[in-house]
């Protein structure tokens, strides 16, 4: 289904208008005269060094060191027989000969003057080569060259009608005599089957030139004595189609790293599409994407847009009856010579919209000041400094939970709590705390769906919550505040020194903090700290120290964090007019 859905996408997006050509970046035009004289080497890049794409005859599939020449367009190794380091130059004469043979044959066949000019040029290449090489300081061999003939201003040589025809004939003849006819497992029709599948580029851990999604590169992977692609008969047109679709989705479009996908951690990329064009997918992309500028605290405009979308019930993500269009998500990674499908999700646009709405709902936490959270931002906020970042499994499980409206992995809760224990050293501690607590809240809410005996989590402060861990979190926030009121900014506040310990073992740590607070209270004085004292009293009268548990489970620790966050926000809210200068920390 994956391949079929990708092929459909390529058809819908019109990526396959002409099966004989493909858009590729051409670095230089090589201009030749009638008699094959070299005239000029014209770089195509603009001022910013970007190289435009141009429809060129479809590039041949080369496996390993096999020598297959492109049709009138190829890299310098083939066109000039030059470029790259010495070690790789051994095969250059052979490459150039292959390229020349194809040009000669075509020139003879079509008698096209441009083709004959190119053939003449290749004939006298040895004498012209020094002049061409002088045009450029260093040749890597990867520069793609196309020909222009002095007699034709409008078209490049390969774009001339006669040569386009010749290419089409050559390709169809080749398709017929190459490869057996088999029943294609995507279309069900009998068609010539692809032996090698297209390379998928821009995937982490894959080879730089790309790796195929469908490949049989070891003995043990083949069945029934079949070779390569014949193990899984996919017609050539479908293979080209899905390859083009995937490469299109993964290609960068200037602003974003991947046009229709997002990187999940360091070694996976998720791509999304629907059978018909659909805005919900753009919302999802915006929601997931990392901000272009890494300014934490301020969220990328895309996410704001996504949230706006989600909160406008009639306009945006309200599932409609006709929304049964399928929605696909594919998580890909590389395994050197192969592409790995890590996850595959198939659902409907309707369900996706529903899930996104619920996700925003579950994530909502008082005091967010309307700051929307991208998944990327959430993952960043629970990362431990100086580590490898979030494991890719976690990222894709978070993605799956968001898309499919599933419970969030418990590891996320653990990661967020672990990160909370470490003192903040990041740029926007207030925002990070918000992100972590919002994630904890969403995790707890969704875990509760699985096991209803877990306590409820509220969006805003709930002073009458019967949960002792929640109340202890509140108490901690008040104690922290009290210390600040009494002593101002101290080097190591009780938050920095005791938060982790208090969260894990409140029965042991909290009584000590409460004793300490009497000193703070005395120092701050009744006037400034009276309100705080009342809150402490309110909590302590309901939950005396005898009922404080010595250890808290992961879920209760989460509640502790949420309680802490709620109370802290509440204190800020009320204190804000009186003490405008206090920093968030």
């Amino acid at each position: 289904m994956i391949i079929g859905a990708l092929y459909e996408y390529a058809l819908r997006e019109g990526l396959l208008e002409d099966p004989d050509v493909e858009p590729l970046a051409v670095d230089f035009f090589l201009e030749v005269a009638d008699d094959g004289r070299f005239l000029a080497l014209v770089p195509t890049s603009d001022e910013e060094g970007r190289v435009p794409r141009r429809a060129v005859p479809r590039k041949p599939q080369r496996s390993g060191t096999a020598i297959v020449a492109g049709f009138f367009v190829d890299n310098a190794k083939y066109v000039l027989g030059h470029g790259g380091d010495e070690a790789k130059a051994r095969l250059h004469p052979e490459r150039n000969a292959a390229f020349r043979a194809l040009v000669d044959a075509t020139a003879k066949e079509t008698q096209d003057p441009a083709a004959r000019a190119v053939a003449a040029f290749l004939g006298r290449l040895d004498s012209e080569l020094p002049r061409i090489l002088n045009q450029r300081a260093e040749w890597t061999g990867e520069e793609r060259l196309a020909f222009r003939w002095s007699g034709d201003d409008a078209l490049l040589v390969h774009e001339r009608l006669a040569l386009r025809d010749a290419w089409r004939r050559r390709r169809s003849a080749k398709q017929e005599d190459e490869g057996p006819l088999m029943q294609c497992l995507v279309t069900g029709r009998w068609e010539p089957v692809a032996r090698l599948h297209p390379l998928i580029k821009r995937l982490p851990n894959a080879q730089p030139q790309g790796s195929p999604l469908v490949s049989f590169n070891e003995d043990a992977f083949c069945s029934h004595g079949l070779d390569q692609g014949y193990n899984a008969p996919v017609s050539r047109s479908v293979a080209e189609g899905y390859g083009t679709a995937l490469n299109y989705m993964l290609s960068s479009d200037g602003e974003r790293r991947h046009r229709r996908g997002v990187a999940l951690g360091k070694d996976a990329v998720a791509v999304f599409w629907t059978r018909e064009a659909e805005q919900a997918v753009d919302v999802l992309l915006a929601l997931l994407d990392a901000p272009a500028t890494q300014q934490e605290g301020s969220s990328p405009p895309g996410v704001r847009q996504a949230l706006h979308f989600a909160e406008a019930p009639l306009r945006g993500l309200e599932p409609a009856v006709f929304d049964y269009k399928p929605f696909y998500a594919l998580v890909l990674g590389g395994n050197t010579a192969r592409v790995v499908v890590r996850e595959w999700f198939e659902s409907s646009v309707r369900d996706l919209k529903q899930s996104l709405r619920e996700w925003f709902d579950d994530l909502r936490l008082d005091g967010g000041k309307g700051r929307p959270l991208s998944l990327w931002g959430l993952l960043r906020s629970v990362e431990l400094r100086g580590r490898d970042g979030t494991p890719p499994e976690l990222a894709s499980r978070l993605l799956a939970a968001v898309m499919m409206n599933r419970p969030l992995p418990r590891e996320l809760l653990a990661a967020a709590l672990r990160r909370l224990r470490v003192p903040d050293k990041d740029d926007a501690p207030g925002f990070q705390l918000y992100a972590r607590c919002a994630l904890i809240k969403a995790t707890l809410l969704r875990l509760r769906r699985l096991s209803p005996q877990l306590p409820e989590v509220s969006v805003a402060l709930d002073p009458n919550s019967p949960e002792v861990s929640y109340q202890l979190g509140r108490l901690f926030a008040v104690l922290e505040r009290l210390q600040f009121v009494a002593l101002g900014d101290v080097d190591a506040s009780i938050k920095e020194r005791y938060f982790g310990a208090a969260m894990a073992n409140p029965g042991i740590v909290m009584p000590r903090l409460v004793r300490l607070s009497t000193h703070h209270l005395a120092k701050a004085g009744r006037e400034r700290a009276g309100r705080l004292d009342r809150v402490i009293g309110q909590i302590m009268s309901q939950f005396p120290a005898e009922v404080w548990p010595n250890t808290l489970t992961l879920e209760s620790q989460g509640l502790f964090a949420v309680g802490y966050y709620h109370q802290r926000e509440d204190l800020f809210k009320k204190a804000a007019p009186a003490e405008p200068a206090t920093a968030e920390s």
Binding site: P233, R338, R342
Partner: protein, 222 residues
């Protein structure tokens, strides 16, 4: 002349993990959404296999929601041959492969069998029917029944009565695309057969072999 075709049997198979690998994604495995007919045939044959009969699957009912799980394992990339020490843990022979499998599957397979050309004069359908029934009832198998891959063992038992079978119905109709049907070994070479699969009302209807062969021929010469 006695009957050539047996009555329809129903068998329930479930397990924690299943991977009915798609041919195009069999290296870094990705499973089909639903058990393939050939995997269902494998389950039936693990209960009763005789050259005298050939199983024909009619329907696979999906009782548990389609859920996925993905994991990586160390596997070998070499083929077994007389010279190789197969389980030698040598880095050159190892390769990591990913599997996107199905989680917590539960199916009811409906199938019947017919006599083949290998059937002798004593091999009447009734005899095999009773054998199958007995063996299934007692949990006897020729080999451990499995769900797509040998390592994903299946628990096989007689299916509950039809009125108690409740297939999933999240979507009324779900097109699964062309699905692997089985291999055709009759001629030279091995020919894979495919059929256009649809999950409707949580049931995958499996066409008879003759229909698939006819369809396949039509695809070749329109």
């Amino acid at each position: 002349m006695s009957a050539q075709v047996s009555r329809v049997f129903r068998l329930r198979a479930r397990g924690p993990v299943a991977c009915f690998s798609r041919p195009e994604m069999k290296v870094e495995r990705v499973s089909y959404e639903v058990m393939t007919p050939s995997a269902a045939r494998g389950l039936l044959e693990s209960v009763l296999w005789k050259p005298a009969i050939r199983w024909q699957v009619h329907e696979v009912a999906v009782l548990a929601p389609i859920q996925w799980v993905s994991f990586r394992r160390n596997e070998v990339k070499q083929r077994m041959s007389p010279g190789t020490v197969f389980f030698a843990d040598h880095p050159d022979r190892r390769t990591q492969r990913n599997t996107v499998a199905l989680k917590n599957v539960d199916y009811v397979v409906s199938a019947s069998f017919r006599r083949t050309e290998h059937a002798g004069p004593d091999d009447n359908v009734r005899k095999f029917e009773e054998m199958f029934e007995r063996r299934l009832e007692r949990g006897q198998t020729f080999q451990a029944p499995y769900l797509g891959c040998r390592e994903f063992a299946a628990a096989v038992e007689p299916a509950p009565p039809p009125e108690e079978v409740k297939p999933i119905t999240t979507e009324p109709e779900r097109r699964l695309g062309w699905m692997f049907y089985d291999f055709d070994y009759r001629n030279d070479g091995v020919v894979p057969l495919f059929f256009d699969a649809t999950l409707s009302g949580g049931r995958l209807r499996v066409p008879p072999l003759e229909d698939v062969l006819r369809e396949q021929k039509r695809g070749g010469n329109p």
